[in-house]
């Protein structure tokens, strides 16, 4: 599903964010990306959604060489890869349902399909009752669930979560992790960058540890620290 072959990313100031990274992620995988701040987790995520292009090496997502993809096709890649961020990135003047429907609307869907898919995504994240609330009226966990619903509404094959529990209390964080686990069980490949050792250690999923831009550990049922 995702393959990185000998990928390096060097920024114009000369620093390497990633160095010689080789990584295979199969369809349906649940992978934790761990490492200290500046280790290269966010850069790796940005390469997967073509917000950045690798300096050397090849990044393949769902069979497509992302680095060589013309700009005119990038939006098609992003429809296959849902993204969730630590800061939710919701539109404050739109309701929960409008925020979710927005992802369908701007990708060319209309009418009944938008209503049905929005309702399905809201039901999946348990926010049907809050559909007409604005983000400012929601708790942090509910806002993140809205963001997850928006990321899933286009039925992406891959979901990338960049520190999705970073702004949440421990109880709410577990709610979000349970939700993401369910999403993965339904067939979506999940890549999650996190600093939350408790969650990583409890789930015992695949762990890829980055340090100074290099993969220093890749374990099938790993822990947060070696």
């Amino acid at each position: 599903m995702i393959a990185l072959d000998d990928v390096s990313k060097r920024y114009p100031n000369g620093t390497f964010a990633l160095r010689d990274v080789d990584l295979r992620i199969d369809a349906g995988d649940f992978l934790f990306l761990v490492g200290s701040s500046g280790a290269g987790k966010s850069t790796l995520i940005r390469l997967l959604i073509r917000e950045e292009v690798a300096t050397t090496g090849r990044v393949v997502v769902d069979g497509e060489d992302v680095g060589r993809m013309p700009r005119s096709r990038v939006h098609l890649l992003r429809r296959k890869v849902g993204v969730v961020f630590q800061d939710f990135k919701l539109l404050p003047r739109k309701t929960v349902a409008e925020n979710v429907a927005f992802a369908l609307l701007v990708t060319g869907h209309e009418g009944r399909l938008v209503r049905e898919e929005t309702a399905r995504a809201l039901s999946l994240v348990g926010l049907t009752a809050r559909r007409d609330h604005f983000p400012g009226q929601l708790s942090g966990g509910e806002q993140q669930r809205t963001a997850i619903a928006r990321a899933l509404v286009n039925r992406p094959r891959i979901l990338i979560a960049d520190e999705p529990t970073g702004n949440l209390d421990p109880v709410t964080s577990w709610e979000i992790i349970k939700l993401l686990t369910r999403v993965c069980e339904l067939g979506t490949t999940l890549v999650m960058a996190t600093h939350n050792a408790e969650i990583v250690n409890a789930l015992r999923r695949r762990v890829v540890h980055l340090d100074h831009g290099m993969v220093v550990r890749d374990e099938r049922e790993g822990l947060y620290a070696a």
Partner: protein, 296 residues
């Protein structure tokens, strides 16, 4: 339908989200279009004036009294064959005298002393298709003086030259001023849309993340730019048409010798040109602005 609704709604919201900037750029576009209208109208008026004056530009060949008809016909044919000449008219001695009488009838201070012996020569009056060739043609014909057909050549290349210089200067000056105004209007629209883009940067970021195409992101801003342009065109055309009556009257009083008035065909052309320029400038400025943002 909802997509179209979204794009139109976003364009309208963008315009009214920052009304001061939107109205300022509309005002600038209005000024630019007023200048454009003025230039277009003046240019069209000048073209008409030049046309009238150019049609009067002539070279007169005074013919020798002893020249044979066949020689005159040959000369006329030769002159007419020149591509710079639109037509050549043969004026007999009698016609020349009749013209003089007509002039005398209109002017009380003008008296023709001796009408029995007609001293006026027959002539070929040449109207030029290309006034710039007047001097060359005059010189060529002057070389034939003394050959038994051409007695003298009267031309006025200096007037032609001056007229063409004025037209050229006005054209170049007008285009230069218009180019500057176009640049200013474009600059203001680029900045207005840049502010609109900045105000909606979060929305744009999310749109791009969830897979909206660049075209979909771009359209509301392009429409907003076109809205600014269209409003500017409406204001400018309102001013132009409100002022056209009194201004035309004043111009006709001023230019008694050139009774030129611009009709409804021109009004339609003007409106179409102004609206086209306004929409192009609006869309162009917005495209530049939003493209710069998306390329980041």
């Amino acid at each position: 339908m909802r997509r179209v609704g979204y794009v139109l709604g976003a364009a309208g919201q963008g315009f009214w989200r920052n009304p001061v900037m939107s109205l300022a750029s509309t005002f600038t576009v209005t000024l630019m279009l007023l200048l454009f209208s003025f230039f277009l109208t003046t240019d069209r008026g000048l073209q008409a004036a030049v046309g009238v004056l150019e049609s009067k530009v002539e070279i007169a060949i005074f013919l020798d009294d002893d020249a044979k008809v066949s020689q005159i016909i040959a000369l006329k044919a030769r002159v007419e064959a020149n591509p710079a000449v639109s037509r050549a008219e043969y004026i007999t001695k009698d016609q020349a005298l009749q013209r003089l009488r007509d002039v005398a009838d209109r002017r009380k201070d003008f008296v023709i002393a001796d009408v029995d012996s007609n001293l006026l020569p027959a002539s070929l009056e040449i109207k030029l298709a290309d006034p710039r060739q007047a001097k060359q043609l005059g010189d060529d014909l002057r070389a034939e003086i003394g050959g038994g057909v051409v007695a003298d050549v009267i031309d006025n290349p200096q007037v032609v030259d001056q007229l063409l210089t004025i037209t050229r200067v006005l054209s170049i000056g007008g285009i230069a001023i218009l180019a500057m105004m176009l640049f200013v209007a474009l600059f203001v629209i680029v900045n207005t849309i840049r502010i609109a883009v900045h105000a909606r940067r979060d929305e744009i970021e999310i749109m791009q993340l969830v897979g909206a195409s660049d075209a979909f992101v771009r359209w509301p801003f392009i429409l907003e730019g076109m809205l600014v342009g269209a409003l500017g065109a409406v204001f400018a055309l309102s001013v132009v048409f409100a002022a056209s009556g009194p201004v035309t009257g004043a111009m006709l009083d001023f230019l008694v010798t050139l009774p030129i008035s611009l009709g409804p065909d021109f009004a339609f052309q003007l409106a179409a040109s102004v609206l086209s320029v306004a929409l192009l400038v609006g869309a162009g400025g917005a495209t530049l602005s939003v493209r710069a943002h998306l390329a980041k």
